[in-house]
Amino acid sequence: MSQYIDPLLIVALSLNFVALGVSRIRAVINAVAIQGMLLGFLPVLVHGQIRLRGMLLVAVTVLLKGIIIPRFLIHAMREANVQHEVKPVVNFMSSLLLGAVGTGLAMVFASTLPLAEEHAGTLFVPASLSTVWAGFLMLTTRKKAIMQVLGYLLLENGIFLFGLLLLEAMPFLVEIGVLLDLFTCVFVMGIIIHHINREFTSIGTEQLTSLRE
């Protein structure tokens, strides 16, 4: 276990807060992308010697999370002509505070989950749980469709973070899980956003209220 793991996980955690507290969509895309790339590189540090298969996973993850998906989202952003999340359901300050509370609770909860010896003392589980929480928060409180997709990506990052612990033991599962989820997210939601853009004039999902009770 490299001693650089914990600081890197802290950086990843801080990016959660950048994503939660900022209203410029471009900045949030960058934050999630940087976090994705960081997590993509983590396997190299977690498991010292890395085989070809692992390297391939690293390369694909970094490419996908860091470059392809952000490009795709920026393109969607331009097409839909949105720049800012104007007024989320929970305002930015409260989102930050809720994220902080969630991170605190994640640390408490993670201490009840005993880690195997080779992973003991690292921040994987709290970082993973708090990223999942931050993603979930963004998903449920943001109104712009792109922000909701970004929240989903953040959730994915959190799950991937935990999956890194299983990388040696069950690489297949982690690979399949992540890639499949990412493809689902991007292509399906991208198509939907495209259609939403065509049917409605903006991709604010607060417009999608015609089916309310």
Partner: protein, 305 residues
């Protein structure tokens, strides 16, 4: 013997260096903008010029208005004496002096705000309200960072907290210290009215925060304010330098060179930040300050985990 030498050098540097920092910041910003910019020693010339002028005092003001700049200067100077520039150079040092540090700044800010309100002008009052709010939010971040240092060093004395033992903690508590560093840099920007919190170069009163509070001062009073602000920047910069570069080489000259390089580096960094960012919307400023608080808070959480 070396302790006394260190303290003398400390006092000398604290008197002479602060305006240079302002000059370095201005020069960096000019270089970024592709200009030549004012000379590095321009703040000194400004101070000398201001000291030779006469003062104009509004008839609506009272003694508070005259006291404001004096208190600001004195508190900043006292703070400069508390914070160690190298490991053991602080002339004043006692247990609990970290609280005094924070509240010296508080006192200075209080009197500046009072002096601003004393003029009876609405611009100054607006600026005072904003400044006080932001400092309110920045203070927890500052204190939590101090808490991290207290926990690590086990002492309530600034000289010990930022002293020679700090270097040993970086490998083990590096994540916490890094978080505090980032948090304190944000606090530095907030307390010294730098971008992204306040634009020191704006001439539009409605957009000012700190500048507008000192709008009515002139002559030597204004010189005192300028110098006090420079001292405040110097003190905060020192905190950053001590946190980031706590290593001691053992030789006098090398230690002071490290400090000199560090403090100028902080000034350059401020210049870079000011050149590459725009001011934040007023409503977004609390978000950044709360983020700084959260960073410090996580520094503590990581320590006690």
């Amino acid at each position: 013997m070396t302790a006394i030498t260190n303290q003398i050098i400390h006092v000398l540097l604290a008197i002479t260096v602060p305006p240079l920092l302002l000059g370095v910041v201005a020069k960096t910003k000019a270089l970024f903008a592709g200009r030549v910019g004012p000379p590095l020693l321009q703040p000194y010339y400004d101070l000398i010029r201001l000291m030779q002028k006469g003062s104009v005092f509004s008839t609506t003001t009272t003694w508070v208005f005259r006291a404001g700049p004096v208190v600001a200067l004195v508190t900043a100077a006292l703070a400069a004496l508390l914070v160690p520039l190298t490991a053991d150079s602080a002339p004043l040092s006692f247990t609990g002096d970290l609280i005094l540090l924070a509240y010296l700044f508080g006192l200075g800010r209080f009197f500046t705000a009072l002096a601003a309100l004393d003029t009876g002008s609405s611009f100054e009052g607006m600026g005072a309200a904003r400044e006080v709010t932001f400092s309110c939010l920045a203070e927890p971040a500052f204190f939590m960072g101090l808490l991290v240092l207290v926990k690590l060093s086990g002492s309530l004395q600034l000289s010990v907290m930022l002293g020679s033992t700090l270097a040993a903690h970086w490998p083990t508590a590096g994540a916490s210290l890094a978080l505090v560093l980032i948090s304190w840099f944000i606090v530095l920007l907030a307390e010294n009215s730098r971008i992204p919190f306040d634009d020191p170069n704006t001439h539009l009163e409605l957009t000012m925060i700190h500048e507008v509070m000192v709008l009515d001062h002139s002559g030597p009073a204004y010189g005192m304010i300028l110098y006090g602000a420079a001292l405040k920047l110097f003190v905060f910069g020192t905190l950053i330098v001590r946190l980031a570069l706590p290593w001691e080489t053992g030789t006098l000259a090398a230690d002071w060179l490290i400090f000199g390089g560090g403090i100028l580096g902080v000034a350059v960094l401020i210049g870079i930040v000011e050149s590459s960012m725009a001011r934040l919307r007023l409503t977004h400023v609390p978000i950044l300050l709360v983020a700084a608080c959260l960073l410090s808070a996580f520094g503590i959480v990581l320590l006690v985990r």
